[in-house]
Each structure stands twice: as structure tokens, then as C-alpha cells.
Subunit: 310 residues, 2 copies
């Protein structure tokens, strides 16, 4: 059994997870981040203690965080969703609990869940890429997660892939997530519609990624152009990642992954065009399997994926 | 003490390396790759046995290879320099020796040498980038080398960085080594000279990277433009690598590194422009320290850097 917490901008979700990856007990509180750090800290302690009442012998609590952790994984350096900067969450929780507290980026938590029970089960070298409003990632090499010297590893959404017609929220131009996220799809179609291109998308008052994916499946020329562009840049990014760390498998998750094989086939085709060694070094590319509970499941299994040696 | 072999296209160099990283005994044979695999295999055995006569208690022999290894690091999948494809060098040597044989890509061997005794001494998370005719690399994460599921990790020279005016030898367009290698420098200047740009380089019959670096230091406009372009793309690549694995330090080696601080300052400046978190996640960028013997020293220390668990 393990305790995993998914600390999100909307809700704090905690669960007891068994060794088959099932969430046996779940507790939820609204985050309401406007209340500030101390209030959320107390809520976290209360929620963890609720779970410990049911399973008192737990020695570790894993927590997935929507933000950047320090290199030692003890401090949240920055979390735009929670409006936190430089909060020592690990220490602040450990003085209030008898358990050891482990923190991890939420995208890496989802990757651990997939490696523990899902699409990349027991793979030694695997990358998960989550395509949502932005692009996140988790990377496992030699069965261990990669968090980086400064805690900013697997920020794959900000790899620069070329020039783009709008800047990324991070301030740079050409970030992968401005080419291949749900936001990127919408912005590209909006831009092309303003140029006067004919498309069934023109009738929509507000575009979203699901509408664009559905219209692409139905054959709309602009929607297809947008999805092909997304797949092209994602294929280029996957090839570049393979040039650096050569995973055996990629899991595609996040909201856009609901487009299923339609999107997956395009990503696979684009990746093959950019791979340096398509004859003998082709990674599998699959859909992530776990859904809403992935954050809890990954956080509960975090301790198995940490490099302990310094 | 350890035995390290640097198997190159021109020479087979082997040495006994002590725990301070000094090569105490060295033996060299010409590779003469036209003789074929069997002849070179026998030469390797002879050279290793010569070293074993001096140090009979060695249990491991490490060998750096100019090519791509299989995922299990036992077979040379491809070595253009040696004209080899799919040769089972590890097995073929182990039946002829009583020692265990470990193989590694030569760029990774140089990286291990730098981590053992040079510019990235004892760093847990470090990347070495070698700028020569092409671009190679070695990556250490959690004190272990990353070789990849298919053995093609750290082929950083083939990360696609944008469109370029000539194709890479690998068949792709836009590979990092077409922007930032010695070859790239020369081709860019040749192209600009043909366009009629005025430059002191125009007086050279045959350009090379050293001439271009020297003229850039002397203030020639075209040479400076070429070096700045190289630094820009290398900065972008370093930033992208940091987005994925976040090393604490980069070591720049290879022929171009002889340009020293002049080049290093430009690479640092360019990297800062592309880093996603320049406020709190800035890697060090330094020059590699070890020269000709790096391959031997790295190969002799390979066993300390291998992930043993499967």
C-alpha cells in the first residue's frame, strides 16, 4: 500500500493505492489557492492524516506538484497554478508528520503511474509526453526518473523547434508547446481563419482542440493541416529526444491523446521522417492508459523510481 | 589500474591507466581498416595481452568505439570509420581473453575521462559535447552514462535545429552538426564567399575551422558571423538538452574547443538567450581538459559508469 497525493490548482486529491495500482480509498479537498500556502499546508496534513488512520503503517507520502521543484526535490521553486514561489513543502510537511515526504512534478507522477501499471509497464527507458494546454513530460532511464540538477528536467514543452508566429508564455519563441499543444492547435486555426482560409471551423464561435480533432477526422482541410503540423513538430521533438537519451517507448497522454489512433498514426509517421536511425533504432509510440487517478497512483509509487545515490 | 583501448579509424591505442588517471604504459598499432575485421580483432587481442603481461590481475578491458553500439553494448551495429556493420566484438574478444570486455562509444569514453579526472570531475549530471568534423556527445545522469535502449543515445549532432542550406551526411536536413561543427563553419563561409561577401577569408585557398576562428578573433566580419551562428545553434541545443535532462554542467571538447574562451563566451551568451529558466537553472559551460589520451582514460574507467541493474 502507498499514499499518493495529487496537489492540483483545483483540487487536492489523496489516495491509498495498493500494489496492483488500485486506489482503495480517496479523499478530496478543494485547493482554493487564494487562501495562501499555510491554509493549503494544513489541509494537506489533515488529508494525509485521514488516510493514515485507515493505513497507519505507511512510512512515505508521495506528492505530485504542478510546478518546478528544486534540484534536491524539497522546495517548490515556482508553481504558477498555486501562486507559490520558493516554498519548502517537504520540510514543512515533515515537521508535521512522522512520515518521509517525497515531492515530484505532476507530469513525472503521471509517467511513474504509466511505468508502474500502464502503457510503459516495467520499461527501463521510457518517455511520457502529455499534450494539454501546455506540454509536459516525464522521463525514466534505467528504471529511475530524471529530475535534473536544478529540478527542471523534462520541461519538453519549452524545447525550441523553430520560429513560430506567436511567443510562448515563457517568453521564448518557437517552444514545442506553441506548435503541438491544444492551445497551439487553436491558435494556429484561428490565425489561418483570419487569413480567410475556407473551413468548416469558420462556423464555430469558440474553437477548441476537440472540435479541431473531430473536424480533422471528418476531413476538413484546415483542421487536417493543423493536426499534421502538430504531428510534424512532435515527431521532430521525439526524434531529438531519441538522439539524446534513446528511450525504447514513448507514451502520449494529456487531453489531446483522446484523439486516439488518428493522432498516434500521424505522430508515428512524422517521427519516422526525422529519426536518425530508422533502420535499427525505432521507439514504440503508444497512448497513455491511466486517466484521472494517474497523479495519485504515480505519487504513491514515487519511492521506487528515485535515484538514491548522490 | 585499468586497461583502456581507443579503437580509432587510424590507430588502435591501448594503455594501462592508474587511479590518478595517468597512462603508465601505452601501446599503439595502426588500424588499417582495409584489412578487415578478423585482422583488427587479432591485433586487439595481441595489444591487450601485451598490457596484461605488465598488469596480469586486470579483470576488465574497456574499449571506445567510433560508431554505434547495440542496446546491450555488445555489438557494433555500424562504424563508418572502420567499415563494420553488426560485428559482435564483445563476444569475439571474450572467447579469446579471460577478462570481461566492455564497449562504449568513443564520445562517451571521452566524457567518462572528463568525469573521472577532468572538467566535469565527479559531477552527477553532466553533458560533454565534442565539436569536430561532426558533433558527438556523452551524457552522465546520476553518475551513470546514458547509452539508450538501442545504443543511439547522445547522438546530439543529429538533433534537428531548423532548416539549413545543405543536408547532413545522415540524410536529414537541419541537424545540429550542419550548424555547429568544424565542417559547418567551413561550409557556411564557403557559401557566403560565393555570394560575394567581402572577407579576409577570401584570400585562403582552402578554408578550415582554425583559420576561421583565428580570423573571427581578429575581427573579420564573415568569420565572426559564422562563429556567432555556430554559437547560436549550440546555445539553442544546450537549452533544449537542459529542458530534457537538466545537467549541472556542459564540457565543450573536440577540435573547435581549441578556440578557448573566445568560443566559450559566445556559447554561454547564446545559451542564456534560450534557457527556459535563466533565473534559477543555469548550467555551467566549460572547456574539456583532457586531450589525446581521453579515449584510453575513459575506456579504462568505463566500469564505474555503467548502470548494472536491468
Amino acid at each position: 500500500m502507498g499514499i499518493g497525493i495529487d496537489l492540483g490548482g483545483t483540487a487536492i486529491k489523496g489516495g491509498l493505492v495498493n500494489t496492483q495500482g488500485q486506489v482503495l480509498e480517496e479523499r478530496t479537498k478543494l485547493t482554493e489557492s487564494h487562501r495562501g500556502y499555510q491554509a493549503i499546508l494544513e489541509d494537506l496534513v489533515e488529508l494525509i492524516n485521514d488516510l493514515l488512520e485507515i493505513s497507519p503503517n505507511e512510512t512515505i507520502v508521495g506528492i505530485g506538484i504542478p510546478g518546478i521543484l528544486s534540484g534536491d526535490c524539497g522546495t517548490i521553486v515556482s508553481s504558477p497554478n498555486l501562486h507559490w514561489k520558493n516554498v519548502a513543502l517537504k520540510k514543512d510537511l515533515e515537521v508535521r508528520l512522522t512520515q518521509k515526504v517525497l515531492l515530484v512534478n505532476d507530469a513525472t507522477a503521471a509517467c511513474i503511474a504509466e511505468a508502474s501499471f500502464g502503457s510503459i509497464f516495467k520499461k527501463a527507458n521510457a518517455m511520457m509526453i502529455t499534450l494539454g494546454t501546455g506540454i509536459g513530460g516525464g522521463l525514466i532511464l534505467g528504471h529511475k526518473i530524471i529530475t535534473g540538477a536544478h529540478g527542471v528536467a523534462t520541461e519538453v514543452g519549452h524545447m525550441v523547434m523553430g520560429e513560430n508566429f506567436y511567443n510562448c508564455g515563457c517568453g521564448k519563441n518557437g517552444c514545442l508547446e506553441t506548435f503541438a499543444s491544444a492551445t497551439a492547435l487553436v491558435r494556429y486555426c484561428d490565425m489561418r481563419l483570419k487569413q480567410g482560409i475556407s473551413s468548416t471551423l469558420a462556423k464555430e464561435k469558440i474553437l477548441n482542440a476537440k472540435i479541431i480533432m473531430d473536424e480533422a477526422k471528418a476531413g476538413d482541410v484546415l483542421a487536417l493541416e493543423a493536426v499534421d503540423r502538430l504531428a510534424k513538430y512532435l515527431g521532430m521533438a521525439i526524434s531529438n529526444i531519441s538522439d539524446l537519451v534513446d528511450p525504447e517507448i514513448y507514451a502520449i497522454g494529456g487531453g489531446l491523446a483522446y484523439a486516439g489512433d488518428f493522432l498516434l498514426d500521424k505522430i508515428r509517421t512524422a517521427t519516422m521522417k526525422y529519426l536518425t536511425y530508422p533502420d535499427f533504432a525505432v521507439p514504440e509510440i503508444v497512448l497513455a492508459q491511466l486517466k484521472n487517478e494517474a497523479g495519485i497512483i504515480g505519487a504513491a509509487n514515487l519511492s521506487h523510481y528515485i535515484i538514491t545515490r548522490k
